[in-house]
């Protein structure tokens, strides 16, 4: 469903991605790992459409559509959703507003009508319970005053309500204690399915004990240096990244 081909990206004139190629098929969970500064977050940001990233060559297609030509909101409406490493606080915008506006935008893009309020509320409450979040979260401003763990849970809550085709999760494990990690991982695992792709970006292997990926890629200096299965992540955990970096250099 997602094809990234030979992608080169510059940020503030500096080349970050240098020929990255990656294919994710429906039903697969991919993990991108790598040392700091390798360009892990850049990939998901470019796919989501963040400003300030200059694609100098290469392509990104999602279900055959040229992602780089789409507006930010069109990408999300098409089913590409990014969970942020640092979710933004949006004072005054209630969570419930965000969820309803987002869900309706997606439905509208598919030519469906608005979800009736009772059905919507039922859906949201079920997902809240799944994320072990209190209903009062809905009335609170998006991420405002949330702890790190609450913010991450809120990102997954949005995923559960919006049911993207491809969920990209950028360092979703950072700043989570073990209990929050379990809740977040359970949430992500519940998204797994034949129709859906998941892209995890993470520095640590720990997350992958809870969400076992089908494919693991090591990103070194702007391109994928090594790919493998879940076993590769364990190897990285015990041996670190240096050996991959050395292998690449050699």
């Amino acid at each position: 469903m997602l094809e990234v081909k030979d992608l080169y990206v510059k940020v503030e004139g500096k080349e970050i991605l240098k020929g990255l190629t990656l294919t994710i098929n429906a039903g697969e969970v991919h993990a991108i790992m790598g040392p700091n500064g390798a360009g892990k977050s850049t990939l998901s940001a470019v796919i989501a459409g963040k400003e300030g990233y200059e694609v100098t060559s290469g392509s990104v297609t999602f279900e055959g559509r040229d992602v780089l030509e789409m507006e930010i909101e069109e990408r999300a409406q098409a089913g590409l959703l990014l969970g942020f490493q640092y979710p933004v606080e949006i004072p005054g915008v209630k969570n419930i507003y965000l969820l309803k506006a987002a869900l309706n935008a997606q439905r509208q893009a598919r030519g469906e009508g608005e979800m009736p309020a009772p059905e919507f509320l039922k859906l949201v409450k079920e997902r809240l319970a799944q994320m072990k979040m209190d209903a009062s979260f809905l009335q609170r401003a998006v991420n405002e005053g949330f702890s790190g763990g609450e913010k991450k849970r809120n990102e997954i809550l949005q995923m559960l309500v919006l049911q993207p085709k491809l969920a990209m999760l950028d360092e979703i494990d950072s700043g989570l204690d073990i209990d929050a990690m379990r809740v977040v991982a359970d949430g992500v695992n519940s998204l797994r399915g034949e129709e859906r792709g998941i892209l995890l970006v993470t520095h640590y292997q720990r997350l992958l004990d809870y969400i076992v990926p089908d494919r693991v890629h090591v990103l070194v200096d702007g391109r994928i240096a090594k790919s493998g299965d879940a076993e590769l992540a364990r190897e990285l955990e015990s041996r670190g990244y240096d050996w991959v970096v050395e292998e690449t250099a050699a």
């Binding site: 989501a48 459409g49 963040k50 400003e51 507006e71 930010i72 909101e73 990408r75 999300a76 409406q77 959703l81 990014l82 942020f84 979710p87 933004v88 949006i90 004072p91 005054g92 915008v93 209630k94 419930i96 507003y97 965000l98 309803k100 506006a101 987002a102 309706n104 935008a105 997606q106 893009a109 608005e114 309020a117 009772p118 919507f120 509320l121 209903a135 809905l138 009335q139 401003a141 998006v142 949005q158 919006l162």
Partner: protein
């Protein structure tokens, strides 16, 4: 010069006709009223309409008023269905005025607690004009502004609210001013007089609204007197038609331990000028000024506020937020004055403005004048655009740019609206701000979903 003269004389001519007509139909007025009219007319004639050269009117051009030819009306005819659609869904003691004329048919006072009187000014004058003559004009004299002078010259109708000591009015008192569209623009000069006895409590809702094609001029003076420990919450919900012109002077007098809270919520009106002044005369008195103005098209909204700390240990707290789109223009001038030796004062003021368009404009001026040394005062004003990072975050959830901007605009307004205890008012404003955003917005559904959830 002759132009200016003819503008003033047109209004004075109208006044003369009106007085002659009134004398013929109702007989002579009590002499104190006639004398005040005369003083008002003389003062207005001497001052003329304010111009941009007057410091207090530097950013507000009132030529649309000065050059207007406004008739006076005696008719309170108004379609009951239209009125019902415009009336706030609020269980309230309600007085309705149509272009300033009292409408008994559209009023419903219900049952007032004992010791509480709510009545049209005309009735209060007919019943006991001397009881009105004492307080009326005590806070707003003819010298305050050319408009207060003009109001004094023309005053006929309005609302009188009297709260006996210790009385508590549970339901809000709703003063509804409806503007009617007609062949000729009309003017009205309503007076609101509130005498809140010691430890009395009430909520006053002043609602200006009307038929969308209306283009009338309202020149209102409100005098609110709070005796010891009285608590008055005053909502002014401005939803007048976009061609309506509105000038208001609201003067508050606060005795010891009284608390006055103003919510000045301005959505409508083509040209709006409010002067809100509180005299904090007794220790422990507290004034809260909350404001929200939303301007679009070519709306011009000017709010001048003044907290006069005349006694030690008095408190004022102000938060005004402005949202301006298109070519709308806003003016905020908030002043806090601490008189000599008024110690232990706290005066806080903040103003934030959001410009949604490059051509929208705000002139914001916070002022502090302090003649005492043991005080805690702060003020600040900020003007900015919507947070781009937040817009991006919303768009990554599939929310289009316009809706994202709408949500953030609503959020900005929410900071003041969250303080509103009267749901019918906050919901109305919230829906109005959401609904007023460009056509593709349908945030109304979101507000409803949120309320539905809240109700469960």
């Amino acid at each position: 010069m002759s132009d200016v003269h003819s503008e003033v004389s047109r209004f004075l001519e109208r006044l003369k006709e009106r007085c002659a007509e009134r004398d013929r139909s109702q007989g002579r007025e009590p002499s104190w009223i006639a004398a005040r009219r005369q003083a008002g007319a003389a003062r207005f004639e001497a001052l003329g309409f304010p111009t941009r050269r007057d410091e207090a009117w530097k950013y507000t051009d009132v030529r649309a008023i000065a050059r207007g030819d406004f008739a006076l009306t005696d008719s309170a005819d108004f379609s009951p269905a239209t009125a019902a659609a415009l009336t706030l869904p609020l269980e309230a003691h309600r007085l309705t005025f149509i272009d300033g004329v009292f409408s008994a048919a559209l009023s419903d006072l219900g049952e007032l607690p004992s010791g509480v009187a709510v009545l049209p000014l005309s009735q209060a004058l007919a019943e006991n004009h001397e009881a009105v003559g004492g307080p009326l004009g005590r806070l707003t004299g003819v010298d305050f502004s050319p408009f207060s002078a003009l109001n004094t010259a023309f005053m006929e109708e309005g609302a009188v609210v009297r709260l006996a000591p210790g009385s508590v009015v549970e339901k809000p008192i709703l003063l509804q001013f409806l503007s009617r569209s007609g062949a000729k623009p009309v003017m009205s000069h309503p007076r609101i007089l509130v005498e809140a006895g010691s430890r009395s409590q009430a909520t006053l809702v002043e609602h200006h609204v009307g038929e969308s094609e209306a283009a009338n001029f309202t020149n209102l003076v409100a005098e609110l007197m709070l005796d010891r420990g009285a608590i008055l919450t005053h909502y002014k919900l401005q939803e007048a038609p976009l061609a309506d012109l509105h000038v208001a002077s609201i003067h508050v007098e606060q005795a010891r331990d009284s608390r006055y809270t103003s919510f000045n919520l301005n959505l409508g009106g083509g040209l709006v000028r409010n002067d809100l002044i509180s005299e904090l005369n007794g220790e422990g008195a507290e004034a809260n000024f909350y404001g929200l103005f939303y301007g679009q098209g070519r709306q011009h909204i000017d709010n001048h506020t003044l907290a006069n700390h005349n006694a030690p240990r008095t408190f004022s707290n102000e938060n005004y937020k402005g949202i301006l789109d298109d070519r709308a223009r806003g003016v905020f001038n908030g002043k806090v004055v601490v008189k000599r030796d008024s110690q232990k004062i706290e005066g806080f003021q903040s103003n934030a403005n959001l410009l949604l368009s490059d051509r929208a404009e705000i002139d914001a001026k916070p002022e502090l004048e302090i003649y005492a040394d043991d005080v805690k005062c702060s003020h600040g004003t900020t003007t900015g655009q919507l947070d781009e990072e937040a817009i991006y975050a919303l768009r990554t959830r599939g929310i289009d740019l316009q809706t994202a901007r709408g949500l953030l605009t609503l959020a900005f307004a929410g900071e003041v609206l969250d303080r509103v205890d009267l749901d019918a008012v906050s919901e109305r404003v919230e829906l109005a701000v959401a609904g007023k955003l460009p056509e593709r917005f349908n945030l109304a559904g979101l507000v409803e979903a949120s309320l539905a959830l809240h109700d469960e």
